[in-house]
Every structure is written in structure tokens, then in C-alpha cells.
Homo-oligomer: 161 residues x 2
Amino acid sequence: MTAGQIDPPAPARAYAEDLAPGTAYRLGRHTLTEDDIVGFAAAWDPQPFHVDPAQRAHPRFAGVIASGIQSLAVLQRLCVESVYAHWHVVAGRALTEAVFLRPVRADTELTGVARVESVTLDRPAMGLVRLACTLTSRSGEPVLTLVAETYVARRVPAPPH
Amino acid sequence: MTAGQIDPPAPARAYAEDLAPGTAYRLGRHTLTEDDIVGFAAAWDPQPFHVDPAQRAHPRFAGVIASGIQSLAVLQRLCVESVYAHWHVVAGRALTEAVFLRPVRADTELTGVARVESVTLDRPAMGLVRLACTLTSRSGEPVLTLVAETYVARRVPAPPH
């Protein structure tokens, strides 16, 4: 896992007003081993095709595939490192249209991109930022797309002297 | 965590044709400790309000709150136990409109309900089932709602003799 690059350069930590639609972030990389996949699924998503490496008879998949929740977790980790760590995040509000496009298998390097879709400034203390994210395999095939809606603090004006 | 009750009673494992809109499932229970919350967030969502119990100065929350991804994971675990274990699941397709309505704090018992919204049988081998889910705190306040779209195998007719 490595930190991503920000393009264009952003200030140290951005407030909602600092974010503009179209700003894109390259995400870092993360690879799940078979043990990672089975361990996560045993805790959170114990379906046979996630936890049983011997289940080769599944009609669509050879070996285990990662839980979709784990794919979301990988994407979240990459977004925290490359995006949210650079924003004044207040809280996440929603994930819309998270679509699991392809199975994620063990030892596949995952990376991705995130792009600001919109910034809504209709509250005094925070803005709502919609971030469109794509998690891809190293070969560039998308495995997960979603839009994350996050509350980001607005810049507080300096108090009068 | 306990298995939920199914209402109305379903066959041992349901095919897509066996599922009807309106069928509701009561989910089991799961409680996250502070260690659970901090441990999950350290791995997947290392933002200060998820990983730092000393961060009492956060403007909105006292103590850590669970990562939204962990709330999704809890809901998935409860749905596997009470719903998907009783279906011939092929794969998850999407989560639509996952909304984090309230913060999830340590030692809050979580439970919920899941209801079949629709069953689409436009493919020969599988149907697409939309399941509307609500994760609630023990006091009944919803903390997370979403619709999960899952491919479920269709009943295969017996081959002719």
C-alpha cells in the first residue's frame, strides 16, 4: 500500500469550499491474500464462496472471491490515505450505487481513482461532497464503482478582534 | 449474535422463484466493543474519529464511532445468518443508497430487519433479488439503511429421463 498522488495539488487539509468538481485523486495499491479474504469473510460474510478455498465447484468462480464488503473496505482504506486524510472530514453520509462488477480474487493488486462530482454548500458548518470512486485490478479492469457522500467542514471565518 | 426468525416460513434453501416481494426477515444481534471498532478502523478506515478513543473533542461525537464500512459488515453478517444462508446465492451485485443515519458507538446492540422488495427473473440461470435492509440500535433507532441486490440461482428443472 502506498500513498496516492493528488492532482491537482491541494492545500494541506481542504475545507469544503476548497474542493472543486472534477478534482481527481489517484489511489494507492492494496493486495488481498487468500488468508486475508478468508479471514475477513469468516468474520463478516461467511458464505461458502468467500470462506472455502476448496470450493472449486462453484459454477462461476475458481477459488475464493473476496466479500464485496471487503472490496468496499479496501476502497475506503485507499480513499482515506489519498483523499480523506487531506480533507477536514466530519462524517460519511452515504454510499450510493456500489456495484460489484467483477469478482476480486486473491493476490490481485487493487488500485483506483476518485473524482469529486459535486460540492453542496447549503449548510453553514459543513458541505456535502460527492466522490465518484472506481476500484480497479492492476490490469485496469474495474471491480467496484460507487459514489461516496461525505460531510466536510466549511472554513470558519476568523472571529472579529 | 443469534439466528433470526424467518417470517413466513421458507423452504430449506430457496431459489429465486421461491422468493416473493414483501417477505420479511428478522435479523439477529451483534454488539461492537470499542476494541472491535478501533481494530476494524485501524485496518480499513483509519480516520481519527474511528481509531482514537481519546478524541473527545470531536464536535459531534463523544468517543469513537464505528466506520460505516463496519456497520455494513455487521449488517452483512446478520443477513448471511438470517437470510442468505437460506437462499441459493450466486453473488452480490450491488448495494444501493446505503445511508449512515446515526453514529454507531461501542457497546450498542445492533439488530435489524430485511424485506424482499422485488425479484426479477429475466435470466435463465438466476434471478436478481432486491432486499431492503435496516440496521437498528436496540432502542429501535435506525443507524443504516440500504438495498442489497443479489443474484440467486433459479430452480433447475429435472433432466428428462
